[in-house]
């Protein structure tokens, strides 16, 4: 049986003996009603059994159902279900399958509400409802939005969709052509549909929206087209736009006001979103929101990261280019910024920071703190205080990261390696990580039982030459010749179990040829699930990294596994198998690997993929 290479680095020092005396306040695992807010009855309130006292979850986590993109608001991707556990997961088998019929990247994951599973397909973004109460999970209905096909031509990174959210009897998701739709979860009828962006300037929407109270939070894609990034809120009931905030430009556009309290002194200036750019380049300033949004219901703040600052040639845009490549906290009702911190000022490498921000309270530096854990594109894991935006630590989870030595915690700024700065007319070689990063958009998971973050990581490096470029609306505004390749060390992907407090890895599993492009799922059964780019769906021991079970699905896995209770009260695990997305699109027949600059420079690094996997489009459900 082919296995990834397991690298064990010893047990975490920060996790003491499991506190079995923790009182479990298990919510009932009964099937929840389909009305009301996201999964209240099937969420787990209070401590998860086995959680040490120095860890505290801040939102309920999923059990019977999976109603939100990440399962919960805090983005832990942790389930309380433990019917499947380290002792029996080796008996997992395929229970049912479903082919969407669209052989493009199947990012995101299904939702489970009551007896129904909801699947959003890649373009043309059908919403399919499957009946879990009947054998074989037959289709109940399909909703098909009528999309503008021109959107396909401005989708940088395959025609993917990162999933839906369920709230108030509606399944809500974004379509590639920059619309948000809400569909009646019972009938499949469209409830509302709102245009949020303009594909003619290269805007698309691929991210999974988040429903916070009565608002649907949505962000755009398109930094490779020089669009201006925004995040907005739509009314949950009507789809009407309530507020829209840009991530670049003057304070009145960014929604910065008297409540803005950035932690670092140099950030306490007016209109940094405009003044840190040359001229009006902020209008083409990227800083899009195509990744994950988290929400802290106690602080009442949403958290997200922004993309690259538009054009990849940094000389076109001198200045820090705020607020690209930043983490931002906003009031969900008004959109006003509470704090912002820029991970990569004046980005010269396309280091988008839209990755997941995991919210959890943990003992840190001797006291309980409200943490935000963000494994970054840059190869650093960032730990921030999510109340204040203070950077508590930035440590390399990819040791060969060389664009920066580290971060100065007094200023919150990286110490950049001047030899790895890119600029027009020079080829800078051997920059690690590549633009695709130490990790990409596919999200990590966190287990409160182990205190570890499970990071699907990459080992990719690149050569980067910034070039002259013309802005032509609706066409790519890149200005860089990039070629990527596998980094040193004999591996290309790595599932890293990372201790966020000690800031070091505990164990990892390496993939020799392919980066990891799937999301990760952690469960109370102490099982961590993830998939490889060549189609292996794997269950590993959350504490030791031992591979307990794996199954070769038909195509590479680039989606996020989820788990739930079926109508029979038994636990199932579901995942999409259908390779695609930016890096894996090299597997598509219409890509030629004799051009290493193809696919925004990815083609060289991924040239071997066509032998390792082919396009596919199957949903798998596993059970005992």
């Amino acid at each position: 049986m082919r296995q990834g290479l397991r690298v064990k680095r010893g047990l975490p020092a920060s996790i003491g003996p499991i506190a079995l005396c923790c009182i479990a306040l298990l919510a009932s695992c009964e099937r929840a009603s389909e009305q009301g807010g996201p999964g209240e009855a099937s969420w787990h309130e209070g401590s998860v059994p086995g959680t040490p006292p120095q860890i505290r979850l801040i939102t309920p986590v999923p059990g019977a159902e999976w109603r939100l993109p990440a399962g919960d608001y805090a983005n832990t991707r942790f389930s309380t279900l433990d019917q499947i556990n380290v002792d029996n997961v080796r008996n997992l088998r395929v229970v049912t399958t479903f082919s969407t019929g669209i052989p493009r990247g199947h990012e995101g994951g299904p939702l489970i509400v009551g007896d129904t599973m909801y699947v959003v397909t890649p373009f043309p973004n059908h919403l399919i409802a499957l009946d879990l109460a009947r054998e074989g999970a037959p289709m109940k209905w399909q909703y098909s939005p009528r999309l503008d096909r021109h959107a396909v031509g401005v989708a940088c990174c395959d025609v993917v969709n990162r999933g839906a959210a369920y709230a108030d009897g509606k399944v809500i998701y974004n379509t590639l052509d920059a619309h948000t739709v809400a569909v009646d979860a019972h009938t499949g009828e469209e409830v509302w549909r709102t245009r949020v962006g303009d594909i003619n300037i290269g805007e698309t929407t691929t991210m999974a929206p988040l429903v916070v109270k009565d608002k649907v939070i949505v962000g755009n894609s398109g930094a490779e087209f020089g669009v201006r990034g925004w995040i907005l809120a739509l009314d949950l009931e009507t789809g009407e736009e309530i507020w829209r905030a840009y991530n670049t430009g003057p304070d009145e556009d960014v929604l910065i006001g008297p409540d803005f309290r950035p932690f670092y002194e140099k950030d306490r200036r007016r209109d940094l979103g405009a003044s840190t750019w040359a001229g009006e380049q902020w209008r083409l300033g990227g800083s899009t929101v195509w990744g994950w949004i988290s929400y802290d219901p106690e602080l009442d703040l949403i958290y997200y990261g922004t993309g690259n600052p538009g054009v990849w040639n940094p000389d076109v845009r001198p200045g820090d280019n705020k607020w690209s490549a930043s983490l931002i906290a906003r009031d969900p009702d008004t959109g006003m910024v509470r704090w912002a911190w820029q991970a990569t000022p004046h980005d010269a490498w396309d280091y988008d920071e839209v990755m997941e921000s995991i919210l959890v309270d943990m003992e840190y530096g001797g006291r309980m703190r409200k943490l935000l854990i963000h494994p970054g594109r840059t190869g650093f894991v960032y730990v921030l205080d999510r109340e204040t935006g203070e950077l508590l630590s930035a440590e390399k989870f990819i040791p060969q990261t060389n664009w920066a030595q580290g971060y100065d915690l007094t200023s919150g700024r990286p110490v950049v390696n001047p030899r790895k700065r890119t600029s027009q007319g020079r080829i800078v070689t051997n920059i690690c990580p590549s633009s695709t990063g130490g990790k990409e958009w596919n999200p990590s998971a966190f287990s409160p039982r182990t205190g570890l973050v499970y990071i699907p990581a990459h080992n990719t490096c690149m050569d980067y030459e910034a070039t002259e470029v013309n802005y032509i609306a609706g066409t790519p505004y890149v200005g860089a010749n990039v070629r990527m390749y596998q980094g040193p060390g004999g591996y290309h992907g790595e599932l890293i179990a990372w201790d966020p407090v000690a800031a070091r890895p505990v164990w990892s599993i390496r993939e020799p040829h392919l980066p990891l492009y799937s999301g990760v799922l952690a469960t109370a059964g102490d099982v961590v699930f993830y998939g490889t780019m060549d189609g292996w769906f794997r269950a590993v021991h959350a504490r030791t990294g031992e591979t307990l079970w794996q199954f070769r699905t038909a195509s590479g896995i680039v989606g996020n596994p989820v788990t739930y209770l079926g109508p029979d009260g038994r636990q199932y695990v579901a995942v999409y198998s259908g390779v695609g997305g930016l890096m894996c699109s090299v597997a598509f027949p219409e890509i030629s690997t004799d051009d290493p600059y193809a696919v925004l420079g990815v083609a060289g690094a991924m040239a071997g993929i066509k032998k390792l996997t082919r396009p596919g489009n199957v949903l798998y459900v596993f059970g005992l």
């Binding site: 021109h150 401005v154 032509i472 609306a473 066409t475 790519p476 193809a598």
Partner: protein, 159 residues
């Protein structure tokens, strides 16, 4: 850079200013073509992509006036970069958002005239209609560059 390239860029600069001005607020359905300029390419062409029904009837298509011209291929490569073709179709045409131009798979036909048409009138899945901006001669240069890929005549081939 050739003078033709510079003239094309000047015309495009004017077009770009109009387009950037239109993009605010996302309200207007902005187009690449400036409103006041007539299209510079022929109207949608009569080059067949599919087979001609009925026996004994051959389709005729215009031939590439710059076929085999290495200077044209080099200029085509510069246009390919300047008009951001590389962003969608890959730095050397290997593909990305748009399909590879290096391989033998042609969704809309791989003859010079059919490639000309795809560039000039655009295609449903998002290929822009460049005929609204680019003169015919410049499009033929890009066609010539594309047809040179994977041949010894390819300027600046991938290494």
């Amino acid at each position: 850079m050739s003078s033709v390239f510079s003239m094309t860029m000047a015309a495009l600069a004017a077009a770009t200013v109009l387009v950037v001005g239109c993009e605010q607020g996302g309200a207007e359905r902005g187009t690449v073509a400036p409103a006041a300029t007539a299209p510079v390419s022929e109207p949608p062409s009569r080059v067949a992509v599919g087979p001609i029904p009925g026996l004994g009837r051959e389709g005729t298509e215009p031939s590439n006036p710059l076929e085999g011209d290495r200077q044209a291929a080099r200029q085509g490569r510069m246009l390919y970069e300047a008009f951001n073709c590389s962003g969608c179709h890959g730095g050397r045409g290997g593909g990305g958002m748009g399909p590879s131009l290096r391989d033998e798979l042609w969704v809309y036909g791989g003859s010079d005239a059919q490639i000309f048409d795809s560039i000039a009138v655009g295609r449903t899945n998002g290929m822009p209609a460049w005929g609204t901006i680019l003169p015919r001669q410049e499009i033929w240069k890009i066609v010539t560059y594309i047809r040179s890929m994977r041949t010894p005549q390819e300027p600046d081939p991938p290494r």
